[in-house]
Amino acid sequence: MTPSIASPARRTHRTRATAALGGLLTLALTLSACGGDTKENADAAPGDTSSVDTLKLANAVAVDTLDPIQASANESIWLDQNIYARLVQTDPTGTKIVPDLADKWEISEDQLTYTFHLRPGVKFADGTPVTAQDAKWSIERARSGEDSAWGFLITPVTDITATDDQTLTIKLERPHAPLLADLAMYAYAVLPQKAVEADKDFFSKTPYGAGPFKVTSLSPQSNLVLTRNDNYWGPKPKIKTVEVSIVTDDNTRLLQLQGGQVDVIENPAGNVLKQIEANPKLRVDLFDSTRVDFVSLPLKTKPLDNLKVRQAIKAALDLGRMNTLAYQGNAKVATTFFPYQMLFWDESAPEPKQDLAKAKQLLAEAGYPDGFTIPLIAVSADAAGQAQAVVIKDDLAKIGITVDIQSFELSTAYDKQRPGTNGMGMRYWTNDIIDPDEVATFGADGDGGAHAFNSYWKDESVTALVNQARSETDTTKRAEMYAQIQAAIADQAPFIPLAYAPFRYASGTWVKGFKVSPLGNYNDSLLTLTVEEH
């Protein structure tokens, strides 16, 4: 899930004007919020059958491609999960690996050989059997295909062999703890080799795999129709069709939901959530995500190379207030740079508290008792990021640091942030796999190409820990290592995690059981979800 392309623009914030309106309004809002909870609890469970057999979903971002190794828009990736099955998959909580096409697998004593056994009789949507050869070809394609963006995840893999139609063996040069999580990722979906090879336009016509749905109509930018795959090995979805439309305008999307033209919309603007909740027929759905917002303090910008300056900045921030302003309190204050809905997130990490006295003292010790002036690069269309930037400016002013917020369109902002010499920067991360290896590598490995989220911070011992943790298959030891890595970043502050922001959806109360996993997927919920007449 490429976060930068995702949809920061949609994460608009709610102004705090309402907060000042006093008791009565607050009470009214609280009541409406309670109303929301009641709606959620009473109505969310799916029915036994779906009286309407179509779910209409309005996404904010166009489907870029349905080729899983090339997809970079989150919206495409979330659809991929419904179309293509993988060897293994993540469970709805996003923290466990469970069987998909392979119903069992063995890992050798030395952790270097994985043997997967395909479910007997499992078929693609066109009725042809899924073979180990299909799996081999698909994984090879994702690993070393010219167009694949995801080969880097499984570099330790040395050999993939289809021993027979049902058995696939993967050999590694060194133990690689995230392997199952990597294979559960959309890019490693098992595709029908013959069909894909036979048609170079396979993915732009009506692609299919062995997932619960198949594409029956595709005009990528406006409309996508998924139809239930009756050859799916698992539970049959209760709905027959999913119609996905692309509605980029926030207002139009909401109006379509209000008019009942669609059933579920992605990313309702943050400032209309209360309005949606106030409508008895609609519901706001907030789901835990793996998104971590952070501000980078690149060491290439003076005086951010000074540890005490970075620590002073961290001590000066009031993350609770930031959450209220940027997310109407709907996010969670970040405690570590790991997403909190993920394996090995350190739940014992303390919540950062604002301490202005300490911040001032650190700044004085660093040799800047009177503060300094520094730019902060923000993304103009990212309303939540803009609000966070304003809070940072306000908080840092209290310790004498003058922040110059410079807003740019997304692509330009990231260009400016990359060299690390242009001051602080508003950024965020989301996970592609449930394993922490990816975020640890990008955020804490100073030798890696990402330069610790472009902060250019480097610590040999932490880099070594990142590499060890990747090869460590003992869960307890691995958790220990990741706790150390999280603590090191918290102490060294090359960047400061700010918030764990939720995924936002809105839906009609006639939709029962729409849910999104922390990785953003809704394929599990589409299996059971029902739609009522409305």
Partner: protein
């Protein structure tokens, strides 16, 4: 007679440097602004190595001149390369999207004519009357309001409250397309008609005061016939020119309106492509839109010439 034809051909020949300029601008514009396609493709997975690999595979590591040459060469043969974002040939994307935009522009033109011709003439004939004043106020208001606001208000009223029109989208099948395009076309036609009504009003007033109209009246030709056969025909020429010139703005307007109404046209394709730095798509769409505008301008001149033969030659026949 020959000189008239020659002049038209020379106008066509003039298009060559214009088109060349357009390709240059559409090629350079995005490359001159900051932002890196590799960043867009990689997102948080950005590493210098991965980005270099992507730039290499996209041909972005080659000298600008070389890239430009490839673009021109491709454009000549109708091949615009492959979209970075959609991983499909740009030509296919354009084909998918052109229909919706053309239909939108066409419907808008029809609405414009239907609105501005009667209103413009009426306003001219009853100068200072109710219609004259009302069109002045209402259309100026329509002109001042941004399209995204007008669009949303129209959706709110006619889509959500009254349920007469769909709330955005494009539908399936030609009839359904037209139904979906009524509100967006109206959104575009309202500000556009402002210009046309005012211009038609003033040209009609001029013509109404011409001697031949007085002569026609003296001959006892009915007023309605004078208006349609004599006045409108002479008054519409300048309006056609205004229409042609403003068509560029109309095309610009579709970009906004297509997004508000989620219509899969060239405009919404362009917006997405700019923000994702999808160079081949931006280049191609910009080129297509520019060529469209240039051709319409040419057509305007030709039509204007047909309506008023004196203008088409510039030399005595």
């Amino acid at each position: 007679m020959g000189s008239s034809v020659n002049l038209r051909w020379s106008r066509v020949a003039n298009l060559v440097p214009v088109l060349f300029g357009i390709t240059l601008v559409s090629f350079l514009l995005l490359r001159l602004v900051p932002g890196d396609p590799a960043q867009q493709i990689l997102g948080n997975r950005y590493t210098p190595e991965a980005a270099a690999g992507i730039r290499r595979s996209l041909g972005l590591d080659q000298p600008l001149l070389q890239q430009y040459w490839l673009f021109i060469k491709g454009a000549m043969t109708g091949s615009f390369g492959e979209s970075y974002q959609y991983h499909r040939p740009v030509g296919e994307l354009l084909l998918d999207r052109t229909g919706a935009s053309l239909m939108l522009v066409g419907l808008t033109a029809i609405f414009c004519a239907a609105l501005s011709i009667p209103l413009g003439i009426w306003a001219a004939v009853r100068r200072g009357g109710l219609v004259d004043q009302a069109t002045r106020v209402l259309f100026t208001l329509g002109f001042a309001l941004p399209a995204f606001l007008v669009g949303i208000v129209l959706i709110l009223v006619f889509g959500l409250k009254l349920g007469w029109a769909p709330i955005g989208g494009y539908g399936n099948g030609v009839l359904s397309h037209v139904g979906h395009l009524v509100l967006p076309a109206l959104t575009l036609a309202i500000p556009f008609s402002t210009v046309l009504v005012r211009s038609l009003r003033s040209s009609t007033i001029t013509v109404l005061e011409a001697d031949f109209v007085t002569v026609a009246r003296l001959k006892g030709i009915p007023e309605s016939r004078i208006l349609v056969r004599h006045v409108l025909r002479n008054a519409i020429g300048p309006v056609a020119v205004v229409f042609g010139i403003n068509l560029a703005f109309l095309v610009g307007g579709t970009v906004v309106v297509e997004n508000v109404f989620s219509i899969p046209g060239l405009g919404s394709l362009l917006v997405g492509a700019v923000s994702t730095r999808d160079y081949p798509v931006v280049q191609a769409v910009a080129l297509v839109l520019a060529v469209f505008v240039v051709l319409v301008n040419l057509l305007t001149d030709v039509v204007h010439g047909l309506l008023d033969p004196r203008l088409s030659v510039g030399v005595q026949r």
